[in-house]
């Protein structure tokens, strides 16, 4: 690429000014510019154009307050969207189970309101998430059966395929008028099994009823939660409310 004619060279001047030619091309252009005033002037004009554009840009106002306010509003909006999407997906995922229990409740002349909540770290390994042990545990295999994770909006939540057999419990409990609230935490494994159940709260009911409820919930089967197509183990919390229905539909 020696002895470039001016016409051929001019096509390369823009790339030359940006220092984006190959080493060979850069040398060829430089050599030519030493001898050719016309092309050297053209390079100067291109460089001057760059300066003029940059100066025009620095002259523009920069309303930092307004920019910051818009930024904060965006973060708030993103957060709201995220929460909304988790709520919608969770309620959609557990509609089926809710209906099953509502039907059972109707036959027993009581209302059984079942809700499944996101396990907000209830069953997470008993270490601080930001401790060294916590980080190592998470690195080991987050989402494995040993290290279940909390459900978030990027996951497909678990879906019930076999509901817990709670009908016996419903009938048994229907003899009492007291409102009974159970809260159970457990892990839904990558295989869709319910393991490591633990009672978080049992406001009423004898020991036997509670342990039967735990057993019943343990027998439920899920299609596991998944993240990017791969099954993950997740923490879940069941809240089972048993109330006497007084002519009111529980929705």
């Amino acid at each position: 690429m020696t002895r470039l004619t001016c016409a051929r060279l001019r096509r390369h001047l823009s790339g030359f000014c940006d220092r984006e030619l190959t080493v060979q091309e850069m040398c060829a252009v430089e050599t030519h510019l030493e001898r050719c005033k016309g092309c050297a002037r053209e390079v100067e004009r291109l460089q001057r154009l760059g300066q003029v554009i940059r100066r025009a840009a620095t002259g523009l106002p920069l309303p930092l307050d307004e920019i910051a306010r818009a930024g904060q509003a965006t973060v708030a909006r993103a957060e709201a969207e995220r929460e909304q999407s988790v709520r919608v997906r969770m309620s959609r995922a557990f509609e089926d189970m809710h209906l099953v229990w509502a039907a059972l409740a109707a036959t027993a002349a009581t209302g059984l309101c079942a809700a499944l909540l996101v396990g907000v770290g209830y069953l997470a390994p008993q270490v601080r998430a930001d401790s060294l042990a916590g980080i190592l545990a998470a690195l080991a295999a987050p989402g494995s059966n040993l290290y279940p994770v909390s459900i978030d909006e990027r996951m497909v939540p678990p879906r019930v395929v076999r509901e817990p057999a709670v009908s016996a419990l419903v009938e048994e409990s229907s003899s009492t008028d007291d409102d009974v609230v159970f809260a159970l935490a457990a892990v839904v494994t990558r295989e869709g099994l319910v393991v490591r159940p633990s009672v978080l709260r049992a406001s009423a009911g004898d020991h036997e009823t509670v342990s039967r409820l735990v057993r019943a919930v343990s027998e439920a089967r899920f299609s596991p939660a998944s993240f990017a197509g791969a099954p993950v183990a997740v923490n879940m919390v069941w809240v089972v409310t048993h109330t006497t229905v007084r002519g009111k539909t529980i929705s």
Binding site: G59, P61, D152
Partner: protein
């Protein structure tokens, strides 16, 4: 045009701190999201302003850009620096905007001129030149923006990313979603057109 191996691109520019911020942000950490916005909001607004030439449009686009960033951060694999990746989103959003914006503009000349008139006189004053040169500089700037506005969007974007933001051809190519050779020829054409418009500057 220097040809850099594509493999060298992988994860370059994504610093450890940035990777951690991205991880926290895509897990929904609000503080991390705020930090990410704070770090990039100025450059996002300015690029949008330079591409669209309208303050309010630029603010709107900035918001859309960050919402898009949050929604798609999970797909960011370090194929570019985070900054370049955000540039690409700004360019896409601005492109979507300007298609109808241009049409609306025909009968409605609210532009940088007005924006500068409304709030920008100070910016020029603060830049320091003597009062008699102030008008010259403002007039020059107006002419530059008008000339840029007349370029096709792709050419304007290439020249803004190169001259104002100082991006390399490789980064511009990524931001525009085109090959490096295309960037080279677009810039050459854009400069030729601008030189013809601004021949006396």
């Amino acid at each position: 045009m220097s040809a850099k191996p594509a493999a060298a691109l992988a994860w370059t520019g994504v610093e450890t701190g940035e990777a951690a911020l991205i991880a926290r942000c895509s897990a929904g950490d609000e503080v991390a999201c705020s930090d990410l916005v704070e770090q990039h909001q100025r450059m996002v607004y300015q690029l949008a302003l330079h591409l669209l030439g309208d303050h309010n449009e630029a603010l709107d686009v900035s918001q859309e850009v960050f919402l898009r960033v949050f929604r798609t951060l999970g797909t960011f694999k370090g194929q570019s620096s985070l900054r370049t990746w955000i540039y690409r989103i700004v360019v896409n959003q601005a492109w979507n905007r300007q298609r109808w914006w241009r049409r609306r503009r025909q009968g409605d000349q609210v532009s940088l001129d007005e924006h500068v008139r409304a709030r920008g006189e100070r910016a020029f004053r603060d830049a320091g030149p003597a009062p008699d040169r102030l008008l010259d500089q403002k007039e020059t700037a107006d002419r530059v923006w008008r000339a840029l506005e007349q370029l096709p969007f792709e050419q304007r974007t290439a020249i803004v990313l190169r001259e104002i933001d100082g991006l390399s051809y490789e980064e511009i190519a990524f931001s525009l979603g085109v090959a490096g050779g295309t960037v080279k020829s677009r810039l050459a054409r854009a400069r030729e057109a601008l030189r013809a418009q601004l021949v006396d500057l």
